[in-house]
């Protein structure tokens, strides 16, 4: 099975061949490195830019104005903050021009903790991203969804932010991407750049097929009747494992996948059934995106149906994520904390 970095790479290759993508760019995105997480190795349209995030986002906007689909990358979301006004401009461009121009661009950036990235390689961006109207925001939690969401992002006529959970970039999928070789070794030999001199290396791309994950559609990855957990990105597999292992409660887990637009119907139906809901992500907790979802639960008729107030488990509202594991694990949700929260929600007596 492909890992998420390989899935992203294959999606970008598919888009080069089928969606007329001519520019995949960012710092160290082109040869020889092919991205600090190897997600852009071997791509024929990948190129390296100056170390200039504003230049990267601005160039993407310009390409979009020229009607070109492109994929730009900010190496870590921790370094995207100096582009906020450009992101705002990109988000409002179709609106402020009353539909005169649209931007069919995709911006990808690795997010979140889990690789011991310390203060400037562990940030999340979903809270910020969902506050920039006009963008669509997606975040996969497995390779196949990464492939399908990225293709949907590239095809979309709006600007789409593709948030890559960096700690999941090496995880493998459970289901093949259409056209993906069954043998992991065959795939690795075909599309992973060799160590050392790569100057004469070219990938041998498998005959992969189109597979789209619709933006705005969540996925129920485990059904249950006692509690709904809504998560995405790094914390999703942790929630899934805890749900599967839970001995007494039957927990439903929703992978939101698309943060804006989001799949309210799936959340609504699930909470209506389970009557308890826990939202989990690793962005800082104050003005967290999940607070909006929680608010929505409380403002709907679900308020009169649920047995416990909707809960949000997120990153602590501290300025950074410390390097030492004690600090990181006390700052963003890991299994122990999620487990504790699950028990608390389950034990609330209506």
């Amino acid at each position: 099975m492909a890992n998420m970095a390989q899935a992203i790479r294959m999606a970008l290759h598919f888009a080069e061949e089928n969606y007329d993508v001519k520019d995949i760019f960012g710092q160290d995105v082109g040869a020889p490195l092919g991205g600090v997480f190897t997600a852009t190795q071997g791509l024929k349209t990948a190129w390296n830019t100056p170390l200039d995030e504003r230049g990267i986002v601005a160039t993407a906007i310009g390409l979009g104005l020229a009607g070109e689909r492109c994929v730009a990358e900010i190496q870590f979301c921790d370094y995207i903050f100096n582009t906020i006004d450009l992101l705002k401009y990109a988000g409002n461009l179709n609106w402020s021009t009353h539909g005169n121009y649209n931007l069919p661009i995709t911006l990808m950036t690795p997010v979140g903790a889990g690789i011991r990235g310390s203060v400037y390689h562990s940030h999340s961006f979903d809270g910020w991203a969902t506050r920039i109207p006009g963008w669509k925001i997606v975040m996969p939690s497995n390779p196949r969804d990464a492939y399908g969401l990225l293709l949907s992002a590239i095809k979309d006529p709006n600007p789409v932010m593709f948030l890559k959970p960096k700690s999941l970039l090496r995880i493998k999928g459970e289901k093949l991407i259409p056209g993906e070789p069954a043998s992991e070794k065959d795939l690795k030999d075909a599309i992973d750049a060799p160590l050392g001199d790569r100057s004469n290396w070219t990938p041998k791309w498998p005959n992969i097929k189109e597979h789209l994950v619709e933006i705005g559609k969540a996925k129920v990855i485990k059904e249950g009747k006692d509690l709904t957990i809504v998560s995405y990105g790094r914390t999703l597999p942790l929630c899934q494992q805890l749900a599967e292992k839970h001995k007494s409660a039957d927990i439903e887990v929703i992978d939101l996948r698309s943060l804006y637009p989001y799949d309210w119907k799936t959340i609504y139906e699930s909470v209506k059934k389970t009557k308890r809901v826990l939202f989990v992500n690793e962005e800082t907790e104050v003005t967290n995106f999940a607070e909006h979802l929680s608010y929505r639960v409380s403002q709907s008729d679900l308020f009169y149906r649920i047995y416990a107030s909707p809960r949000v488990l997120a990153g602590k509202n501290v300025p950074g994520i410390g390097l030492h594991p004690n600090l990181e694990e006390a700052t963003v949700p890991y299994s122990e904390e999620i487990k504790k929260e699950i028990e608390e929600v389950l034990n609330i007596v209506p």
Partner: protein, 346 residues
């Protein structure tokens, strides 16, 4: 000197206008005049309480008009892309913008083709002429122009990207971004980078913040062909801009022009929008030269003023009666094709 002697002296030193033909000289004057009278109409609209805000271009006509006249106008990669700032009415007038589009924009009418009543005056957007939206954030256009220029270089043809901004905004990093990215070795981009230097950033004197002799000197550090010109002289502007356009079309490389211009009505309505008579008025200076050279008569100039003033006043009265955008349109165009963007309906 007697009157006769003076006449002889003038005739001996008759201006050549650098060889530009009479038709072009008069056309530039006409367009400069149109732009000025349109801007003055916009100011009147603001001052009579018919608009919330004015910002614009009186004093930049001598540079802006040739910038537009020399363009390869059209839609798509084969034509020039323009990434303008909010003092570019002269360029748009020279490219054929209708005055009513400018008036609807400042009056935020529903029929405003640039923004649908959503943005300020001079925040133009005309996709049919590759006029990308003018942004209020200063200087972001310098980075954005890199994208259209890259697409144009790949496309081939004669289309280039033109980006303009003011002197104060060159302090933003996006200006440096433009210089660096447009001159990457082997990846040079066909961009005309212009800086209209009026010496002010709202109330702050340029000289109090910048120690470089010329902004154009910064281009030289990146081996970009760079020049500083008198942007109050339409003849010099035309000649130098033509050189720049031709160079970029031929070599597919950047070119930087800094043009000294005036800011005749201050920064915007926020600073009063009153006439500052202590600065050179490029339009008046040019008119004097045309009159001295007998290329135009006083009565013709007067007639032109009256004609355009009357025309724009009538347009204002017509547009004044038009409706504004409806409140229920606020979600329109948040996403393309009005795909639902309201979370209440997810």
């Amino acid at each position: 000197m007697t009157a006769t002697e003076a006449k002889v002296t003038r005739s001996k030193t008759k201006e050549t206008f650098s060889g530009l033909g009479k038709d072009l000289l008069l056309k530039m004057h006409d367009l400069m005049l149109q732009s000025r009278i349109l801007e003055e109409r916009l100011i009147k609209i603001y001052k009579t309480g018919e608009a919330f805000f004015w910002i614009g271009a009186p004093g930049e006509e001598a540079f802006g008009v040739p910038l537009g006249l020399l363009s390869h106008k059209g839609q798509g990669l084969a034509y020039d892309y323009f990434h303008l700032h909010y003092r570019c009415t002269p360029t748009l007038v020279a490219m054929g913008m209708k005055a009513e589009d400018s008036i609807r924009l400042i009056m935020n009418k529903k029929g405003d083709v640039c923004t649908g009543g959503r943005n300020f005056s001079n925040h133009y957007c005309f996709p049919e002429m590759n006029i990308t939206p003018v942004s209020s954030p200063i200087e972001i256009q310098y980075g954005i122009a890199l994208g259209t220029a890259r697409a144009q270089k790949r496309f081939g043809g004669k289309g280039i990207s033109v980006v303009s901004g003011g002197d104060a905004g060159t302090a933003e990093g996006d200006f440096a971004t433009c210089l660096i990215w447009s001159s990457r070795p082997g990846e040079e981009l066909p961009i005309l980078i212009t800086v209209q230097n009026n010496g002010w950033g709202i109330s702050t004197d340029y000289k109090s913040q910048h120690s470089e002799d010329k902004i154009s000197d910064r281009g030289k550090a990146f081996n970009i062909k760079s020049e500083t010109i008198n942007g109050n002289d339409p003849v010099e502007s035309y000649i130098k801009l033509k050189e720049a356009y031709d160079y970029i079309r031929k070599h597919k490389k950047p070119y930087l022009i800094e043009a000294y211009v005036s800011r005749l009505y201050g920064h915007s309505s926020a600073s009063g929008a009153n006439l500052h008579q202590d600065q050179e008025d490029g339009l008046k200076s040019y008119e004097k030269r045309l009159l001295r050279a007998d290329l135009i008569k006083e009565k013709d100039v007067k007639a032109l003023y009256e004609k355009y003033d009357k025309e724009y006043a009538a347009l204002f009265r017509k547009i004044q009666k038009e409706e504004g955008p409806s409140a229920d349109s606020i979600w329109d165009h948040t996403f393309v094709n009005n795909e639902n963007a309201d979370w209440r309906n997810f």
